[in-house]
């Protein structure tokens, strides 16, 4: 059993080896959600080409679960088109991580919200251009 036994091994793996940390260069969608006063902020940047999310990166201030869900959501969206990406829910992210402790469920909402915010931003940018 994990020493940090609130978390599954998958969560710990994504906390320790987070995928896609950073800011996408030439991003055309950015979502920033959360609040430092609540203990978590996530910034998700995506690059969408022909309706396909070809790149996604995150920066997150938050607990282990927040970091792991951020990492997982970037993995999940890559290669998906916008419609498919919008089908990703916080439940889906949690499942992909093998579950989260009850008091951490709100963290997965953060990832979902960041994704929606980034897509909304992308759409707005599209409309402008």
């Amino acid at each position: 059993m994990n020493i940090w036994d609130n978390y599954t091994e998958k969560v710990m793996d994504h906390y320790e080896n987070p995928r896609n940390v950073g800011i996408v260069e030439n991003a055309n969608g950015t979502g920033v959600v959360g609040n430092p006063a609540c203990g978590d902020v996530m910034k998700l940047t995506i690059r969408v080409v022909n309706d396909i999310i070809v790149e996604a990166k995150f920066k997150t201030f938050g607990c282990g679960a927040a970091i792991a869900t951020s990492s997982m959501v970037t993995e999940m969206v890559k290669g998906k088109n916008i419609k498919e990406a919008l089908e990703i829910s916080n439940k889906g992210v949690m499942e992909a991580l093998g579950g989260l402790p009850k008091i951490k469920r709100h963290c997965s909402v953060l990832a979902e919200e960041a994704l929606r915010a980034a897509i909304a931003d992308y759409r707005q940018n599209e409309r402008k251009s």
């Binding site: 020493i3 609540c38 920066k59 607990c63 927040a66 970091i67 709100h106």
Partner: protein
Amino acid sequence: MKQIYMDHHATTPVDAEVLEAMMPALTTEFGNPSSNTHAYGHAARYMVDAARAQVARLIAATSPDEIIFTSGATEADNLALKGVVHAKEHMADRNMITLAIEHKAVLDTAVRLEKEHVEIRFARMDPYGVVDLDDLEKKIDKNTILISIQAANSEIGTLQPIRDIGVIAKKHNVPFHTDAVQALGRCEIDVVRDHIDLLSISAHKMYGPKGIGALYVRKGIKLVPIIDGGGHERQMRSGTLNVPGIVGLGKAAEIAKRDLARESVRLLKLRNRLQEGILRRIDHVGINGHPTKRLPNNLNVTFAYVEGESLILACREVALSSGSACTSASLQSSYVLKALKVPDFLAHCSLRFGLGKSNTQEHIDIVIDLLEKGVQRLREMSPLYDMAREGVDIDGVRWSHHHK
């Protein structure tokens, strides 16, 4: 491998000497001290008497009779506050004075008493959590029936000037209760010299067992019990005495007194090494609590831009506690840091180090290394760190509120 334990404010292991002292009461000497018709009962009574004297000596109480055993300091705090208040049931207007950074055992009890129409007055503090003595004295009036101010804070380690508070309380003839849970064994306390009327003790914070504590009740102070039934403990606390626990508390008190000077100096050195190491090797760091008037074993640090739990995860060879919402079921950041007006954002970035007997210099050096690496890695991941470097005022940004 076992984690290095650095959470001694939460609880401490039972000393080997303490456990050894408890073993007879857990095996052959199992009598009920209330049984006065046989040798088992008598033996139990002797053990309890001896332990009562040991506890009395730790705080320099005049008589062992002034020690009332309870199930812990939470009960002791409840008994002190409710006991004094309920003994003054005839007074229409009553108020008591306390601090907003008291332990929940005091604060939640105060909230309960507020529902019974007792006014709770909070004395002002400086930014380190030290009580403002002038304000305290100003808040006392003829309806003040109790002052309850802790000796040391369990999160930030700040020490209160209890002797000065005692002098003020005595001058105005108001009983003075202090929750001394964190201070005992780490600072010298003398209930006579310090004019303390009621004092809460918990065994498991000073290398004794869990489930046992005591309330010192100065002779002449009247309390209405919160647990009735048989009239044990000078009619103030009923229930079969927890003999093994009491023996353990007694022994722990004896050892605390014996080792106080040596151990507090040792802890102070370790704590200072930890503090200096952190300050030297990590930037954007702040110390919470008083710079000097603090428990020798306590350090509370804010590592800006890094959420507390994520940093604890980075140091998971070490058992640590945080002021972070994400480690508590309530999702509230530390009420102590909040009361001291530490911004929520920074409260979430705070860790508490509670050193103890088992800790060595090597442990300190390990944790400094882990912190340095962890902070660096997590700041690289932190959008707030980027913003700060770009000169954005984080408090000025309009954030979305996703927690309700």
